[in-house]
Amino acid sequence: MIDLSLLPDGGVRWLDASGPHGDIVLSTRVRLARNVEGFAFTGRARDGERLRVLAMVRDSLPAIEGLAEHISFRVDELSPVDRALLHERHLVSKELAGLDVQHPVKTGAAVFLGDGLGVMVNEEDHLRLQALRSGFALQEAYASLESVDRSLGSRLPYSFHPEFGFLTACPTNVGTGLRASVLIHLPGLVLTKEIGKVLAGLQQMGLTYRGLYGEGSEVVGNFFQISNQTTLGSAEEELLDKLLNVVAHVIEREQEARKVLLRDAGYIIEDKLWRAYGTLRYARSLTFDEAMNYLSGVRLAVGLKLINGLSVYTLNKLLIFSQAAHLAYAEGRTLAESDTNLARARYVRTTLEEESGSVR
């Protein structure tokens, strides 16, 4: 199995809740889709072409600030569990990890990881540059990514069209190639049933939402990924500003909803959230969805200061480390689903037990 301990903070510094609005916003991600001129896009390229693209990227990286020192993985040479592990940790996309039966892993699929920065090679596009930050930090994430993009683009020729912008395999990414997303926890808006209006509003503003793992993933545990829908026709700054303003507004609405909950349903909410904590603390078997939903409750309780002495970082880590591949990794063997549920409950229990002394 791969060793992720070599990564700065295991590649999960973005979970440390140190960023702005860390109690509501888990992380901010910005990615740029780019293709190298002279080669067919990944889906249509021959193995040899993909390997050449990979070699070109590898040769360029030592000169790129922020990625000169990196950890890299040839994703196509990893076992399915290792690939799932990287995906669960948000370090590679589902597409690159080849976890879909219909889209198996491609020769030359690789990832280069620096501190909060990553380059996926031979994803749907030749290059997916991404920056990941803790909390609500769009500008900071984009600034670090833009410098990587500029530097890499001065060494590799990107496919660019004067009218259509940066060219991508999927027409939904063409233009800026920029997708910025904010992973946000909105239990207050869900419980007050305001969420429908907020989500409809997002879509009117040209934004969209997805689940914890981006495109095609379900919303679980009240975690939403809000991102820009379009990539063409607006400049990078405009796209970021719009997302920034709308998410700032959503954060305010969530804060208001939480106040309303406390004011109008104080003891009911308090009881509900402590029960969630109790379940996580003592359950012997937990499915993924159950764990996410109870964790959502406990996260809300910590935000409302109904439960004290539990860090948001611990709760964030539970979200990632209680997933199937992480549990298999911790146990050192592949697990059947029922065993996974037992291992998950055991892991959550042990982690919460370590902080239980200070919980009140």
């Binding site: 293709n35 001129e37 080669f39 067919a40 896009f41 889906g43 249509r44 749907e124 683009g153 001065s154 060494r155 590799l156 020729p157 990107y158 496919s159 660019f160 069209h161 004067p162 009218e163 259509f164 912008g165 940066f166 060219l167 991508t168 395999a169 999927c170 027409p171 939904t172 063409v174 233009g175 800026t176 920029l178 379009t230 990539t231 063409l232 026709g233 607006s234 400049a235 990078e236």
Partner: protein, 161 residues
């Protein structure tokens, strides 16, 4: 101009014949020309060669429409419909007219207004190499006290920088 034969109708066919090395020009109306067996209407090709040329012409028309194939990666519009992905950067030029409409539907716009990208210019690298070489020669010229050469080299470096 009236028909050379009947002298009644306007001449529509201008026939050049060469008989016994003598060039003869005749101006005939459609009726008289037809009577002499001269084809005056542009009909569909009836011969195998004509059919072949006609087919090539149709293909050329198809190549510029949706039914075409990208000259770089070989992808067709049908491939795009199946996968939802273009095959390469050239596809954007090959299917340009359909592209604009598609992008307008997806993004409400078909014109990029963000970062304008300039690909790396190999000349820059060459320039850096030449500059490095000149500097090295300057160093050696100074070391060997060839001051006239050194001054010349220094001027060339200044111009390049």
């Amino acid at each position: 101009m009236l028909c050379d034969n009947c002298g009644e109708r306007d001449a529509a066919v201008h026939l050049t014949t060469i008989v016994n090395n003598e060039v003869r020009q005749q101006h005939l109306c459609e009726k008289c020309a037809a009577e002499r067996g001269v084809e005056t209407t542009v009909a569909k090709p009836k011969h195998p060669l004509g059919d072949f040329l006609h087919a090539v012409q149709q293909q050329a028309i198809a190549a510029t429409s949706e039914a075409g194939r990208c000259s770089f990666c070989g992808a067709t519009m049908n491939d795009f419909r199946t996968t939802g992905r273009w095959g390469c950067a050239r596809c954007y030029a090959t299917f340009e007219s359909s592209m604009r409409e598609l992008l307008r539907r997806v993004h409400g716009n078909s014109r990029h207004v963000g970062i304008v990208y300039m690909p790396p210019q190999p000349e820059l690298d060459e320039r850096a190499t030449i500059l490095g070489e000149l500097k090295e020669r300057l160093r050696r010229a100074i070391e060997s006290e060839q001051f006239e050469l050194a001054a010349d080299l220094r001027d060339r470096i200044r111009v390049m920088e």
